[in-house]
Each structure stands twice: as C-alpha cells, then as structure tokens.
C-alpha cells in the first residue's frame, strides 16, 4: 500500500453512467491486476474503492459507474484535479494459474479489472477468451479495447439489444483452462456454478478503510474469515462458500 497524490488527466463518459478516468502519479505500488485503489474525495468522509483498469509507469486508469453522491462528485472532476489515493490495495488475480486458454468473464462495472488482467495474460503469450456482459446496449463499454489487446471478445446483453442475447454464462466456450471473473454477486454465483475449471472471482463490499484495519468487509470462506479488502478482493473458486 502507498499513499500518494495523483492528478486527473482525463475523465470522460464511455457508457450510460460509466466514466473512464486517467490519472498521473506513482503507480509503483500496484503489483497485480485485480487490485484496487482508494480515493479520497472532497466532502466525503470515507474513501471510495475502485478497481484498477489499467496501469503504466506514472499512469493509472480507472473505470467507474456513478451510483451515488461520491461517484457523482468523481464524474465532475476536471483535468488537473489533485486526488489523495491509496494504491496497491488487495490481493489481485494470479496469472500463473491461467493455463494456455484462460476465460475472462466480466459483468457491468466488473469489466474494468479484467482489462489489465487480459493485457498481462496476452503479454505472457496466453490466449484469453473474453465475455463481457451488460444489461443493455447503452451500457456496453471496452469491447474494442479488449479486441485491441488481441483477445477474442463476445458481448452479451440481457435484453439482446447488442451482441449475443443472454448472460455471460450463456456464451461459455467449449474449452478453457481457468476462469477469471468480476461482476455482481448473482453473476459470480452463476459463473461459479457453470464453470468446470478452477478459477478466481473478485468480490465487492462496502469498505471502511480498504487496507485491512477495520474489519468492515469480512466474509466467511472455507479457509476461514477473510477481508475482501486485504485477502480479497480476488478469491479462489475452491474457498468460496456457495
């Protein structure tokens, strides 16, 4: 974990209620895809945990959905805004378990952390299949970005207004070596049920601190009590109590 200041470089809407923010600052504490950052917003007491979508030396990209007062404020931040951010939080995805043909399943604002994961898997010579699920066409984002990385991408929408009609689990390929997923809990449960390989699931919870001190985001697992912010947000399929 590291506390440092970032400067907003770009903050643009990319889908219904979904924004992409690029920030300039020290990203050296971010060590794995699936980790998150925790942003201090003027006028809010608690920080806002947001998953890392992409990182490069000196540059951080987050993609977030406006769901309340805090994210509304974030959406209004202009280029040059200075933000106090904790980086390198949580236990991310382990790419060493992926096998040759990993499957990446993202739902809604669960899609962003899979982008850096996909990028790293491709850099390692893996051939990821990506399935991105949304409710409807106007919520779809990052299809082209994943394609540009060189991944095979399928988009599903619940109402069929874009891509394949249905849920991400309706588009599972016949062969994959390991799965990685992030999305709303009903989707994670469906993925957990429908997949035949081992995999890693990223969870979300309301957090106090985001770095393991307050026990606000604890959950029970087959391997004991875990903190979503510290031992998570990524958990192995085999430890989840479903």
């Amino acid at each position: 974990m590291q506390q440092s200041f970032f400067t907003v470089d770009e903050n643009v809407q990319i889908a219904k209620k979904v924004y992409k923010m690029t920030l300039l600052g020290d990203t050296s504490a971010i060590t794995a895809p699936g980790q998150f950052v925790n942003l201090k917003l003027d006028g809010s007491f608690l920080r806002r945990p947001i998953s890392v979508c992409d990182r490069a030396d000196g540059m951080l990209t987050i993609v977030y959905k406006v769901v309340g007062g805090g994210t509304e404020k974030m959406a209004a931040y202009e280029k040059g805004t200075r933000l106090d951010i904790l980086t390198g939080l949580g236990n991310g995805y382990d790419t060493s378990l992926s096998g040759e043909a990993p499957l990446l399943l993202g739902g809604g604002v669960g899609v962003p952390p899979l982008y850096l994961l996909c990028k790293e898997l491709i850099q390692q010579g893996k051939r990821p299949t990506v399935i991105l699920g949304f409710n409807t066409k106007e919520e779809v984002f990052y299809e082209k970005e994943f394609e540009a990385l060189g991944a095979a991408v399928t988009v599903t929408t619940v109402d069929g207004s874009y891509g394949q009609q249905g849920f991400v689990t309706d588009a599972l390929p016949s062969h994959y070596t390991h799965f990685y997923t992030c999305g709303p809990e009903p989707m994670l449960k469906a993925v957990h049920r429908a997949t035949e390989t081992d995999g890693q699931l990223s969870f979300e919870e309301r957090m106090g601190c985001g770095f393991g001190a307050c026990m606000g985001c604890s959950c029970k697992t087959l391997t004991g009590y875990k903190r979503i912010c510290k031992e998570g947000p990524v958990m192995r399929k085999g430890e989840i109590l479903w």
């Binding site: 201090k40 007491f45 309301r206 601190c209 770095f211 001190a213 026990m215 985001c217």
Partner: protein, 304 residues
C-alpha cells in the same frame, strides 16, 4: 523543547496519542507503513472469550463528516489473541499496549480481563461496557450505573493491571455512570464509544448496514465527546482518556483542556492510515503555537 509525555497512573507515555480499538487491528497493517513505536500506545481490537465473526455485511455506511460501523466485535477469541496476536504484535510494537475487553456476561468480562491482565505487554485494560447483556434482554451493560458498576467490580476483582472503563455516550446521564465506575474502584475512564446511528438507502428503502444500526464515529462526534469528557472531569478524580472524532493536534489539546490525560484516535486512522503518526508529529509545533511547555499542565485547563 516541549514536553509531550503524560502519565496514566504510574505508566508514563511518551505522548498522549493512542489509536483506538477496532481502528488499528493488531498494528501490523500500520507497521508496514511506518514505525508505530512513535505512538504513545495503542488499544488493540476488542477481545471476547470465544472467536467471533461479527455481524453480516454491509457493516459500513458513509455519513456527513463520519461513518457508521456495525462490525460486531469480530475477533479471533481470547486464546488466539494471547497465543498468536500478542506475540506477533510484540515484534512491531515495543511499548505497553491497551487491551480492550468485551463480554456478553459479567463472567465473560472477568475471564477475559483476568487472562489479558496477566500479559506483560498489557499496560492497562480498557473495558468496553457497550456490549449487550445476553442475560438481561440485550440491554447494554454501559447503559445504567448499576450494571456498569457490576462489570467494574467484577473486572477489578481479577485484574492485575489498571482497569479503565470505556463509557457509552448513548445514555441519559453519563456522569452518574462515570461516578458509579469510580465508586467500584475503576482506575480510569475512556470515553466516548460511538454514538448509535443509522443510514437508509433511499433507492432500496432499507437500512444501509445489515444490522440496521451501528456506531457513528468521525469528525462529527468531536463536540459530543468533548462535552462528555468536560462533564465527567468535573465529577470524578480518576484519569480520563478522551476520544471521539479527533484528527488533529489542536483537537488533542482541546480534549486535554476538557480534562483528558491522553486521547485515542479512531476513525481518522481508517481514512488516513498515517493520521496517528501525523498527529504525534504535529503536536510539538501546536503546543509551541499555544504556549504550552508541558502537556501535563493543561489537563482540565478549561475548567474555571
């Protein structure tokens, strides 16, 4: 050179800054960031006899100038705290610590207190009496002078270390409860615990936290905490550790002027992991600014 040390009975702390129980775990998360030996002490997570998972999630809610938590005393239980957590803690913190004692019956308080007070690392016990009495309909022990006195007496009878009772502000008359604890031999008081509060998610039309209500802490409660310390200081002669919404060196001075001998820093640690260290670092300059040479001189200084 200003003097920041303060005494709690025979224990002299280098400075009065103590991270509050439940906001600092067992110190490791913070020890990764800075040398936590700069702190006066710290109060580790509340201990119950049995391991506890605590309440269902969500446990946290954002509030104007504060937060609500309903963690529900998650902790690994007395045995593991003594055999695993305290030895690990000893490796990163070399000063005496404050053991926060919880219970759901007078017997449990006594058992936890007796065991923790035997630990060499423990400087004093902080007894959280804001726990529900499971044998009396779930009413908090801290809500009446009689039950607060009973817990004080039970813990005092078995403790080898000074016993500080942590008072709840969710009462009609905090002064009468403080006096009842003093009468039963409490060596000191820590105050205040969180204020009972709640938030409702207006989109779902349901409480935000699963337990419906929780403890409100953070900047917003500082005036309430200060008032409680001020009132109790006038009524008792035992030391008071003040807490509630402290996030700056100036607030430390303000709390000490109200009557606190030391302070705990709680919610601020969760927002700024360096908060306690920063307050320790800022304290000498703040003292100089207000012409304070020795912190001990200002305790209760606002009382006419």
């Amino acid at each position: 050179m200003v003097k920041t040390s303060v005494s709690l009975g025979s224990w002299v702390l280098d400075n009065p800054i103590i991270p509050a129980s439940g906001t600092f775990g067992y110190g490791y998360e913070f020890a990764e960031l800075y040398d936590i030996n700069c702190l006066g002490s710290f109060s580790f997570k509340g201990t119950t006899r049995e391991p506890r998972f605590g309440n269902p999630t969500p446990r946290i809610a954002e509030c104007p100038s504060g937060m609500i938590n309903s963690v529900g005393l998650q902790n690994p239980g007395l045995e593991k705290v003594v055999t695993e957590e305290l030895p690990k803690l000893k490796a990163c913190f070399h000063k005496p610590v404050i053991a926060n004692v919880c219970g759901f019956s007078p017997e449990e308080y006594a058992e936890v207190a007796a065991r923790l007070s035997e630990e060499e690392q423990v400087g004093l016990l902080e007894v959280n009496i804001s726990c529900p009495n499971l044998h009396a309909g779930g009413v908090n022990f801290g809500s009446s002078p009689e039950s607060a006195a009973e817990i004080t007496a039970r813990v005092k009878a078995v403790s080898k270390k000074p016993v500080y009772i942590k008072l709840s502000p969710n009462v009609t008359d905090i002064v009468s409860i403080a006096k009842a604890c003093e009468a039963e031999g409490a060596d000191g008081l820590t105050m205040i615990n969180t204020l009972l509060g709640m938030r409702i998610d207006i989109a779902r039309r349901r409480p935000v936290v699963a337990n419906k209500m929780g403890g409100f802490s953070g900047d917003a409660i500082f005036p309430v905490a200060l008032r409680c310390v001020y009132q109790v200081y006038e009524a008792v002669s035992i030391p008071i550790i003040g807490m509630g919404g402290i996030s700056s060196a100036e607030q430390v001075i303000e709390m000490m002027l109200a009557g606190a001998r030391a302070v705990e820093v709680g919610a601020a640690n969760l927002v700024n992991p360096y908060a306690s260290r920063d307050i320790v670092a800022a304290l000498p300059a703040a003292m100089e600014k207000y012409g304070i040479q020795n912190l001990e001189d200002i305790i209760g200084g606002a009382h006419g």
